[in-house]
Symmetry: C2
Subunit: 316 residues, 2 copies
């Protein structure tokens, strides 16, 4: 029982207040992220007003072809899977069946449709942002623990060389790829985020290794990752606050952790950190924690739980 704050399953459950606060932050951030999408829609409108008199003119403006496709309901993701013929058909259908019947309102119709697709895109973007905010919060707590314990550390953004921890500021926390330190027993420790673990051929959110590397560019790190003896901790982090997604994403995490258990011949510590934890999954998580299948766990919205987990992590 490595986390003194996890004494029973119910403690893991996310409070309504944490949920409220999470959704509020989400709405505020979403409004900020909406601006460029709104701007692009306005720019599209301006181009259409300046360069078209009727729907038939639209196809001839090369620079808005992609926007036209998006207005026709095709996401950037979907585009990659469609053939040229599919896209041409969708465009022509869109012009004939949607824009032309709108008469003189064809510009408004196209911009409105474009915004619908943009809204879906904004939603996708937000989901990624929420994930990296969770990562950032974990980083802040780990760094705080290192500082409290007066452990010197280095960190790297992207795949650059390591910078001394004394240069660490809150504004770099969102781009940290790896942190390195020497623990109380004078052992090298390397924490890497979102890295492909070759033993499972899958990316893992949190990986703690017992080797130092000069940088996280492919080769030196790959060599360390290749040897399963170098692994200390592997963890899954789920930053989403939506209770409706809680069990869904825990099921995903659970299979991901199961794959690690199967792939590694030696036992290593597995951890789970989630922001949306509901009663039923709290039982499963706690049960795995009690049996040792999970070495540690925490609710990301509970500072005490998270701090305890980080304190444990840097001591491994």
């Amino acid at each position: 029982m490595n986390n003194p704050h996890i004494t029973l399953a119910d403690i893991l459950i996310t409070t309504p207040e944490a949920r409220r606060s999470g959704f509020l932050e989400y709405a505020l951030r979403r409004n900020k992220e909406a601006v460029p999408f709104i701007d692009k829609a306005k720019a599209l409108k301006a181009i259409l007003q300046a360069h078209t008199q009727s729907p038939d003119d639209i196809l001839s403006i090369e620079k808005i072809k992609e926007s036209l496709l998006e207005a026709a309901g095709v996401s950037v993701k979907a585009k990659a899977h469609l053939s040229i013929a599919d896209k041409d058909r969708l465009l022509q259908d869109f012009i004939d069946k949607v824009l032309k019947p709108s008469g003189s309102a064809y510009i408004e119709e196209m911009v409105y449709r474009y915004l619908l697709t943009s809204g879906d895109a904004l939603g996708g973007k937000m989901r990624n942002i929420i994930g990296s905010i969770a990562n950032e919060k974990l980083t802040r707590f780990i760094v705080s623990q290192l500082q409290i314990c007066q452990i010197e550390f280095t960190y790297t953004r992207k795949n650059d060389a390591f910078t001394h921890g004394k240069h660490f500021t809150i504004d770099v926390a969102d781009s940290i790829k790896a942190i390195q330190w020497t623990n109380g027993q004078n052992q090298q420790r390397l924490l890497v985020y979102n890295v492909n673990v070759p033993q499972v051929k899958k990316n893992i959110d949190i990986v703690l290794l017992k080797q130092a590397v000069a940088n996280t560019r492919s080769d030196p790190l790959k060599k360390v990752l290749a040897d399963e003896k170098n692994y200390l901790v592997i963890g899954e982090l789920k930053g989403g606050i939506d209770p409706a997604g809680a069990d869904e994403h825990w099921k995903t995490a659970n299979t991901a952790l199961g794959r690690v258990r199967t792939a590694f011949n030696r036992q290593l510590s597995l951890i789970f950190i989630g922001a949306a934890i509901e009663a039923s999954m709290a039982q499963e998580i706690f049960s795995q924690y009690q049996s040792g299948e999970l070495a540690n766990c925490a609710n990301l919205t509970d500072d005490n739980q998270l701090a305890s987990l980080c304190a444990w992590l840097i001591e491994q």
Copy 2:
């Protein structure tokens, strides 16, 4: 090896052509579903034009308060988790920081923002539709098998009484909740979709039982579901075509199936049907199929695989 079409893992992999076709269908359907969202935006614009002269007038129009909140970036889902104070704050911020600075373009700004949120909503709606289309396809293949085998069956839409299969038409396939028949060995069979299995306290996509019920209203069905001896097959169905979601959703399905294995004291047949199957997960699925952990499996986009699975299913 219950499915003669599943001879090796790679056969389960979704073809690029099936993917292309899936994304094309998706785009066409999305454009149809977009219409009411576009209409609501136009209606909102009309109300704003008719009843407001400036952003300050908006709050006084009670009937557009929810739309205003959505324009302010709050989804219907998020609304449920926010306090009145949160929502008031978001509304006021939206008016002060977004609409007022737009000057005379405040109506356009509000409608554009509303459309962004609507686009996310449309995306959510589409995801549900894709799921029910998959269910519908499975129903059509099962009914076809029953018809081919000249097995009489009854079906129920929603939770009504059962209707004789001779009344079955393609247009009801999307609302079938359960199908009942008597198999070759004169045994009662009941197939139910999306039903809560009390042994795991979770909903399961596909459940085959060996009891008949008069209707699928709570009580008679609940009694059958309560006794684990009545279960023959439990299955997960994943209708999504996006390869990026394939492993994600297989991981979810895998934990769901794992929960069933753990919860049931007797062995029962577990099956998996997915539309997006990638190489790596195909190996895992096939491996479970070979070991018997999965009794059957199929790629939803492959008619032969699906028909074979359905032929096996109605013989159980």
